[in-house]
Structures are given as C-alpha cells and as structure tokens.
C-alpha cells in the first residue's frame, strides 16, 4: 500500500520536507534522491508495479480477446489512475504501450483515457508518442484523441524544449484534415520566433484557401504575424472567434478531481522545479484548475545552464530584481505557462516595458481560455464552483490590470459574453471592476455589446446594483478620459496608440463613444431615479458621474460637453437633501467654467472643434431655471420646463407658490432658514421667513449657508449672480449669464 502511494506521488515523509520553503534546492534534491531509493526498494511486490511491468514487457501480437492478465492489469492501472493519477514513469510506460500498438488499435483509446498524471507528464514520453503518430497505423479518431490529450495535459508536461525541437515534425501533420485544428492549437502553444518560416506560412495560407478562414488557422497565423510581420501579409480581423475549440474531453473533470484529492502533493512536487514560489501560493494550489501557475522555465532544469548560455536566453524565473531584468531585457525567455506572469510583478514590469506583443497575445490567449472555461462553460452549471477560488483569481486579474493600467482584450471579450448570461449578483464587485477597465468600445458596437445587457440588468435589479453599476460606469468613463489625455497627440487630432492596445481610433470616433456612454448613463439615471423614487443614495452616485462629465474639457482636454438630462437635473434641484442641491450647484459651476474656457480657446486658436450651440442653450436654460427657482422666487414661470396651470396652482391653496423652491422655502434648506431666523431674531415669537428676503438679512443668510459647507452653492452664486446692493427688497438681484 505504501509502495503504491509512493508511485503516485512523493510520500508524506518527504513531502513535509519539501514543503519547507527555507530548505535550499540542493538539500531538496538530496532528499528526493533518498526518497527515490526508498521507492525502488518498496516497489518489488506491489501489484500495480507488476501491472506496469506487464505493459512494458508485453510482446507485440499478444491477443487481446480473452486475455485475463491484460484485463486485470489494465483495470488495476485504471483504478489507480482515476483515484490518484499516474506517476511520470507510469505515464511513460502506458503511453508507449498504447501508441506502439503492441496489442492492436482497440486498446489504444481506453489507455489514453486513463492517462491522468498525478504530478507531471515526462516530455520524452510525449515526444516518443508523437513519433509513433508518424508511423501511420493509428486510426484517425485515436490520433485526434492523443493530440487532445497532449493539449489538455500541456501545462503538466515537465519541459517543452524537446517538443519544440520537433516543431517541424509536428507541423507536418497540419495537412491531415482531421488533425489540423488540434495540431494548430498545439503549434500555437509551441511556436517561437525561430519556428516561423516562409514555407510554413505558405503552407498555412494554402490550407486556408482550401479550408476557408478557419479560426484555428487564423489564430496560428496571427501569432506568426506577431513574430514575423514581414512574412505574413494577411490582414487579421480584430475581433476573432474565440480561439480554439473547447476540448470537453474526458480528462478535465477527472484531472481536477485527482488534483484536488492530492492537492498538496502535487503542489510540493511541482514546486521542486521552481525557485520563485511564495508561501501563500501553497494553500491556493489545492485547486489547480483556476489558479495561476508559478513561474517555471520551458527548458529542462539540467540542460538549462548550458542552453541558456549558448542561446543567450535567460528564463524569467531566474531573475530576481529589477536591475537583473534591465540587464537581460533583450534575451528573456518567457515561461511555458503564460498565466504565471500574472503572479509575478517582475514579469508584469517586463510586459509593461517591452510591450512584447507575442507575450501579450499568449497571455490573452491563456486568459481567455481560462475565463471561458471556468465561468461560461462550467461542468456542473456552477454549483460547486469554488467561489473563494474564483474570487482570488479575478482579484489577481484586477490587480494585474491596475498595475498595467489597462484591460486585457480577452477579459473584455469574456465580459461581453458573461454579461449576457449574468444574474447580476455572482461575483458582482469583481465583474463590475473588470467592466470598468474595458478599453474604449467603438460607438457602432457599444450598444449591442454593452448597453443592452446592462440595461436589462439595471432596471430589474435592486437599488444597490443600480448604485454599483453607476459607480462602475463612472470609473469606465474616467479611464477612457485618462486614456485619451495620455495618448492624444498635441497637434494631431487623431489619437495615436502604441501597439499595446491595437485599437486605432480617431478623435471623432472616441468622442462618439464617450457621448454614447454619457447619454446612456443619462437615460439609466433618469429612469432609475423615477423607479426608485429619487432615492438619495442613487442620486449621489449619479452626481458622482456628472462631476466627471462636467469637467471633460478642462481636466481631460476633450472638447466635449454633455449636459445632464432633465430627468436628472430636476430631481436633483428639487431633492429634499441639501447636499444634492449643493452638488448640482457645483456641477453647474464647473460646466460654466468649462464652457467659458472652451469658448475662449475657440476664439484664440480657431481650432476645428466647437461645442454645439445646443449645449450652450441647454446650459443657459438650466442656469436660468436654477437662479429663478432658488434666488428670484419665480417658480412656475412660463418658459420653464416645469409648468402648471394657473388655476391648478391656485386650487392647491399654497400661499405664494412661486416662492416654494427659493433658498428659504426649498425643502432642503427650510430647516436652515428656520434656524437662521431664530438666531437672527431670537426674541420674535411669530416666524416670518419672508423677512429673510430683505437685502441685509438675505446676505447674512447666504453667508450663514456658505459657512455650513455649501461650497458648491457659493461658487454657483458667485459665478452666476451679480448683486446690486441697493436698499430695498431682495428682488433686485439680477441674473447674469455670460454665455450665449
């Protein structure tokens, strides 16, 4: 029993020593050798070992039918494989047995299906199996099954240098029509710059003209194009069908099961090959399917030193400081598992400085695959989805995106799909966080990709979701504006972008997208306020958004000013809390500053942009309404948006209804007026709020309001209203709007 355990993974005794991170790698190696010897000793009498021996020694041509030995041994191997997984040696033996067809073609699929590695898959076994593939006796179905197996286990193959060495050999299989999609996927994972050759590109193009624009060919070609743009002249569509097909293979779920079962064992034994590995990782490693692999090198450990010195490549894993990174910047070997980049800040720095497009392409490919697999294509409908694990993964992704200050295109593509099946609560903070990172969406697509799913979610969800989405859209707008102010060139109106984001967008295109977004939020906000009864929490989030919108020109240099819709303006103006009214006043003040400076600049530089007359008209209208309402006590005047019939107003029996929303009677400020009245005339028994209207008390009252922290109101009043301090009543204040 103990021997069996040993075969499928390191024993508990050496595992504990392996777990200890402080032990140097040399002593780990020694303890491994000791464990190896121990293992050899125990192996002799174990039935599983005997079974393996049977498969390694069995002679070609042994009959399958009625062979009890074979059946018994195979069942034994399957049992171990499905429960604990197979050790590297066992994988080698079984793979060799299956692919050599020593006992015919019938057993081959069955054996392939049970090849579940407990730790790693030895590279040599895969190379040998690929060679067997070339012999040509294996039926097509089995060939496909084998390549699928390699793809599923790719990340578990201990090194890839020898596989890369036979790149040309593997490439020769692309002409086989059945194998082509899978071979392309495998090649995609193996391709390096050296592998891109003219004749290969020609072959792929030839295939494409034969098979049509297949996504797998396009993906491989796009990678070739990244490495050698001069060789691939083909134009690659910007938004491609999502990669290679999902291989919903028989191994995935078993593999996850096996890995979960001996989680810590896998972790520690893989951990051997790594030098970078932090403690916190070990706990996470328990569930291997959704977490970042640790950085590892593609080349074999023993061959590493000589290889790297001869070829002058330095695996990222060997670098420990930023200085080292700088020294080796131009000959860095990327890790085999691109996902590991997310976990290493050094690797992210490399990505950011070098802007290596092939690295980003590979990272995106891996990420898109992982996200799709885990969140859109769940084996069990998401029931047993470990939310803790998913949470950590997405948080890591978020922090990576914050570090790089941009989103990944694969996470963007994932989000569009996820939004269309989202229930609005699953992983909400993470999803909204990722959503706020998406790059500018072209205005032609923004509606279908973003607005329609979001609108359905917004109006059917709770108030808190509405607030969350508002915050998310505000962050999205902020990022877009920041992005514009960074990348826009001074003299050129078009936004020039580095290769990083691969979007090219004209200024007008960008403006259209921003306008679409602002108008969309305006619609959401208006109806949202209506449905939620102008809830002040929601209103606060909406005002956050408009605080961004009103400053687009001055803060971000974007010549675009969009006014809030009436559905936002009036509920805020008549809100019962003074903070909202104050913030509206601040927003209107900023609009005024932005519009005036835009106008001045237009006069000075005579640039091509101008802000439409309509915007000025809307702004003036709002200012007139606000001043009339708060200052001049002229509510319900003709020409205002809010109009009521004279008779109706009289019928309401509200005395002096025209004053009901001035700074004294406005529901938000009434309590201040009362308080002021008591302080001003402490002796008076009967309260007459109208007495505040007189010139002197009025300016005292304003001073009083401003000392309460209503700076927005102060700025609004100072910029829009000039008072002529003549003796008399408070109605002499004239309104001045400097805009047309």
């Amino acid at each position: 029993m103990a021997a069996k355990l040993n075969l499928s993974g390191p024993s508990d005794s050496d595992q504990s020593s392996l777990n200890d991170q402080s032990v140097s790698s040399r002593s780990i190696n020694r303890s491994l050798r000791v464990a190896e010897k121990q293992r050899r000793k125990n192996e002799a009498g174990d039935p599983f070992v005997l079974a393996l021996k049977y498969f390694s020694d069995v002679e070609a041509g042994t009959p399958v039918l009625g062979n009890d030995d074979l059946e018994r041994n195979l069942v034994l191997v399957e049992k171990v494989a499905y429960s604990k997984g197979l050790s590297p040696e066992a994988i080698s033996i079984m793979l060799e047995f299956a692919m050599s067809l020593r006992m015919g073609t019938i057993l081959c699929p069955r054996v392939l299906k049970c090849l579940i590695p407990a730790t790693v898959v030895p590279q040599e076994a895969v190379v040998r199996a690929v060679v067997w593939l070339g012999v040509g006796k294996i039926p097509f179905g089995t060939q496909v099954l084998f390549i699928k197996w390699v793809l599923t286990m790719f990340d578990m193959i201990d090194a890839k240098d020898h596989l890369r060495a036979i790149y040309g050999f593997i490439f020769s299989f692309v002409t086989e029509e059945n194998l082509c999609p899978y071979i392309c996927h495998l090649l995609y994972l193996l391709t390096r710059k050296e592998s891109v050759r003219v004749f290969r590109v020609r072959k792929l193009l030839e295939l494409q003209s034969k098979l049509g624009r297949q996504p797998f060919l396009l993906h491989l070609l796009s990678l070739y194009k990244v490495f050698c743009p001069e060789l691939v002249t083909l134009s690659i569509p910007s938004r491609m069908k999502s990669g290679f097909r999902n291989h919903n293979s028989p191994w995935k779920s078993v593999l996850i099961g096996v890995q979960k079962r001996n989680g810590s064992q896998v972790a520690s034994s893989i951990g051997l090959a790594f030098t970078i590995k932090d403690k916190t990782n070990t706990r996470k490693r328990k569930h291997c399917h959704l977490e970042l692999p640790a950085l590892s090198s593609v080349v074999n450990k023993q061959a590493q030193t000589e290889l790297s010195s001869s070829r002058k490549v330095v695996p990222l894993v060997q670098l420990h400081s930023f200085a080292q990174l700088l020294e080796n910047m131009h000959h860095i070997e990327l890790p085999a598992q691109m996902g590991s980049l997310l976990g290493s800040s050094l690797a992210l720095q490399y990505l950011d400085c070098v802007q290596d497009e092939s690295a980003l392409l590979r990272l995106n490919f891996w990420l898109g695959y992982a996200l799709h697999e885990e969140f859109l294509f769940c084996g069990d409908g998401g029931a047993s989805q470990n939310s803790e694990e998913a949470l950590q993964f997405l948080n890591k992704l978020l922090s990576t995106q914050h570090f790089l200050q941009e989103g990944f295109s694969s996470s963007e593509a994932f989000l569009y799909k996820f939004l269309s099946v989202w229930d609005g609560s699953l992983l909400r903070p993470q999803i909204l966080g990722l959503l706020s990172n998406i790059p500018v969406v072209p205005s032609s697509q923004i509606r279908q990709l973003l607005f329609e799913p979001l609108m359905q979610l917004f109006f059917t969800s709770s108030m808190f979701f509405k607030c969350g989405l508002m915050e998310c859209l505000n962050n999205m707008l902020l990022k877009w504006l920041t992005w514009h102010s960074v990348y826009a060139l001074e003299d050129d109106l078009d936004i020039s972008l580095n290769s990083h984001t691969s979007i090219n967008m004209t200024l007008s295109g960008f403006k259209d997208s921003v306008m679409e977004l602002v108008n969309f939020v305006g619609r959401l906000a208006s109806v949202g306020l209506q449905l939620e009864g102008c809830h002040s929490l929601l209103l606060s989030f909406i005002l956050d958004f408009y605080e961004t919108v009103c400053d687009t020109f001055l803060k971000y240099g974007l010549p675009l000013v969009v006014m809030p819709p009436a559905g936002v303006f009036y509920p805020t103006l008549f809100a019962a809390d003074p903070v909202s009214v104050d913030r509206l006043a601040y927003i209107m003040y900023r609009y005024k500053v932005n519009l005036t400076s835009a106008k001045n600049q237009e006069k000075v530089t005579e640039q091509a942009f101008h802000i439409s007359r309509q915007t000025f008209r809307e702004f003036n209208h709002y200012v007139v309404v606000m001043v009339n309402c708060l200052w001049n006590s002229k509510m319900f005047q003709p020409g205002m948006d809010v109009q009521l019939g004279e008779e109706l107003l009289l019928k309401s029996n509200v005395p002096e209804y025209w004053t009901s929303f001035d700074l004294i009677h406005h529901p938000a400020f009434l309590s201040y007026a009362v308080d002021f009245h008591q302080r001003c005339w402490p002796g008076r028994k009967d309260m007459d709020l109208n007495s505040i209207k007189h010139s002197k008390p009025w300016s005292w009252y304003l001073e009083y309001l401003f000392t309460q922290g209503y700076d927005g109101l102060k700025q609004f009043v100072q910029s829009n209203i000039s008072r002529q301090l003549t003796a008399g009543d408070g109605q002499d204040n004239s309104l001045s709007t400097q805009q047309r």
Binding site: P237, S425, Q456
Partner: protein, 221 residues
Amino acid sequence: MTSDARSEKKRETETGPEGIDRIEIRLDLFTNVNWTRMSLLKPFSRLPGLNTASILLVENEEQFQQSLADALVEETAVTVNVRLAKSLPLPMKNEEGRPRIDLVVFIINLTSELSFQSAEASLKYLDPGYFLGKVCFMVTNARNASVPTERLDTVRKLAASLHCPLLFAEDQTPDGVANATERLLTILKVAAGLVPMATALYLSNLTRCTVPPDIDQPSFD
C-alpha cells in the same frame, strides 16, 4: 411581520385522481371554444387587492420555484401571493380562490429540452394582455457546459419575439436564489402597480430581451 403572515404560496397543479380527470376533460375539450376561453388566464379579470401582489411561477421541474416561493413570501413591504404551477392551463377548480395574477414567470432549465417545450406550450393559455409587461422568463443553468448553445438562442428568440424580459438566475447557490427573488420582486411590484409613475409595460419596454449578435462571428471589416 403581520403582512408576512398574510403572504402565502399555493400550488396550483394538484396530482391525483382529479388531475387525471382534468387531463381527460382537457383532451376532449380542445376544440371547445367556450372551454378555451375559460382556461385563459386574464390579467384584469379581477380587482387587485390592497397592497397585494400576486405572482405565478411556472416550472416544469417544480424545483427552483419552490425555493423562489419560500424566499418571495418573506417580503414584508407588500403582501405577496405566490402561486406555483407545473404548466398552463391552470386547473379550473381553483378558479374561484385565485387572486389576480400580476406577473407570470416561466422558469426554464436550460439543461432540459422538456423544460423549454413545456414553457412554450404553456404560453398559449395566457391572455394576450399579459404580454404587455406581465410575463417574464427566468433561465437557469445558462453557464453549464452541457447546454447546447442553440437552446439558449431559441429561448432568447422566444423572449424577444414576445417582447418579454429574460432573466438569468443561479439557482444552486443561496445568494443566487436571493438575488433572483429580489429581481422578481422588483418587476412584480411594478407589474402590480405598487411603484408610482411606473407601469408594467413601461418597465418591460426597458428590459425586454433582444437577440444579441453573435459575438463570436468574425468581422471582416
């Protein structure tokens, strides 16, 4: 808490000998115009109750509706009547005691073809007036790997052709159920006329399902 006590759920489809009778009657009366008119569920056949909203959950598998119903009756702000049914038409014998149904929810489990077919077959027993904002579809298991993509597309097309909202729910986690309940309540309150300045038609116009473009489709521009 008092209104909590008043909230109730009731199963509409009974099994047993009466059920079999009913099926027989249904079979031979398929041609009977009178009967068909009787069996149509109508949105305005009764007066609404004060501060009351009634919701009908239709699900062929009768699983998710149970947990939804339990969560829905917890609502305290309004009295919520939950009626459960396997499919439509509803049995005649409950006709008298049945409140005015403000919202009909078809729950479709995407992993089962039958679930969709049953919902589709039930649709014709609803008065056309319901489709002015008082019907919605709720889909579960949309992220399951075993669901053929065509099925989700078919459901989308159905919801889009009827101008109804299509909600997605995570039925297997408590959070998912709570969220689904909350969203149904949001729609229900509007459909029952409990939200000032909003009507069912208004809300459904904002939230109705649209057939999304195939995002995967490569664009060759």
